[in-house]
């Protein structure tokens, strides 16, 4: 019993919000709900064979694949932009502690930066969204992406470098 899977309802209750935040960051608010349906339906289908030791990494892996499929299918109607208020953790009511604006030294009104997140390569975008919208630690970002903590840190680092350049342009334009 020690390694038995929890009832799917408990698994769903625990992961629905963070996976929703992740997908809004990955595919934008318009398409996130469809991706979220596909993610949890696929999870339910595969659940009896789930990786019991790390269900969070397991569900984020499925969600990431669904987001990639979504982009490949060309279903992208709108730019995958997540509004920052949608990235607020609904359980705690707070923005991820490592908010992206904070990381980039920008005020929240500059959160057009999420538009620039959409331009990042998929791996980097996933890392940034997991770190700043889902508020995972680097070790957890690595687990969710199937890479090491160091590789996750590196992805976020590179992504932030690009985003800082975009941010500088935005500041320039706002002047």
């Amino acid at each position: 019993m020690a390694h038995a899977l929890p009832p799917f309802q408990a698994f769903l209750d625990e992961h629905l919000e963070p996976v929703g935040a992740f997908l809004r960051g990955m595919v934008g608010p318009n398409d996130a709900e469809d991706c979220l349906q596909e993610t949890f339906l696929a999870a339910l289908r595969a659940y009896p064979r789930a990786e019991k030791r790390n269900l969070r990494a397991w569900i984020f892996t499925i969600a990431r694949r669904k987001a990639i499929d979504h982009h490949r299918s060309g279903a992208r109607r709108a730019r995958p932009v997540a509004e920052p208020e949608e990235l607020v953790d609904s359980r705690t009511g707070r923005q991820g502690s490592g908010s992206l604006d904070g990381a980039l030294g920008m005020s929240p009104r500059h959160s057009e930066i999420w538009a620039a997140v959409a331009e990042l390569p998929t791996g980097q975008r996933a890392a940034v969204v997991l770190r700043f919208a889902v508020d995972l630690r680097y070790r957890e970002v690595g687990e969710a992406l199937g890479t090491s903590e160091e590789a996750a840190r590196q992805s976020v680092h590179e992504a932030l470098k690009k985003l800082r350049e975009s941010a500088a342009e935005l500041k320039e334009m706002a002047r």
């Binding site: 019993m1 038995a4 899977l5 929890p6 009832p7 799917f8 309802q9 408990a10 769903l12 629905l16 919000e17 929703g20 709900e33 979220l36 349906q37 949890f40 339906l41 339910l44 289908r45 659940y47 009896p48």
Partner: protein, 184 residues
């Protein structure tokens, strides 16, 4: 989010992925829980029994694909409510017996299921009807392990000395049910 979850549940059900659906139901003695597979009602948890424990056991013994999906339990909930209102003296629900041990235990429970509303039998009689009159202690164990209480009316099995005997839902619940049926 609840609309989202409703849509997810409906699709899961359509795709045959909902191995166990559950819901809660109010009774005069508190909140009970009911669970069904596509075959039928598989488990009833009485008000003194833990919902979490029921779900954990179902996950281990039936399938972890368990969701709170009351639509599958509409009929079970309606019949239970009618029973507690004194409007119903038998249940017309398909049952999934998989949580009872096949063999003697299940035969005892099937015999229990035939005891009419308002009547009682003894553990010894239950053993006899299951084909082994001397196994009345084992019959007690079988009745005590009933996964579908109330609907499989194990409260109608009593001791031959006139005491009402044990009950998974607690002795006061057994007394309440027998009183409701006019059997005591």
């Amino acid at each position: 989010m609840s609309e989202f979850v409703d849509r997810l549940m409906a699709r899961a059900n359509e795709d045959g992925l909902l191995d166990v659906a559950y819901a809660t139901v109010d009774t005069p003695l508190g909140k009970a829980a009911v669970a069904a597979t596509p075959r039928g009602l598989v488990r009833v948890a009485l008000p003194n029994q833990s919902l979490d424990e029921m779900l954990t056991r179902l996950a281990a013994e039936v399938s972890p694909r368990i969701l709170e999906y009351p639509a599958r339990l509409d009929e079970a909930r309606r019949e239970l409510e009618e029973y507690f209102d004194g409007q119903r003296d038998h249940f017309e629900l398909p049952l999934d017996w998989r949580l009872s041990h096949p063999g003697f235990y299940r035969r005892v429970l099937r015999a229990t299921a035939r005891v009419p509303f308002g009547e009682v039998i003894t553990y010894r009689e239950a053993a006899q009807q299951a084909g082994n009159p001397r196994a009345f202690r084992a019959a007690g164990t079988a009745v005590g392990s009933n996964p579908i209480p109330i609907v499989v009316p194990c409260h109608r099995v009593v001791r031959s000395d006139g005491e009402i005997g044990n009950y998974g839902g607690g002795p006061e619940m057994k007394r309440f049910l027998l009183h409701l049926e006019g059997a005591v």
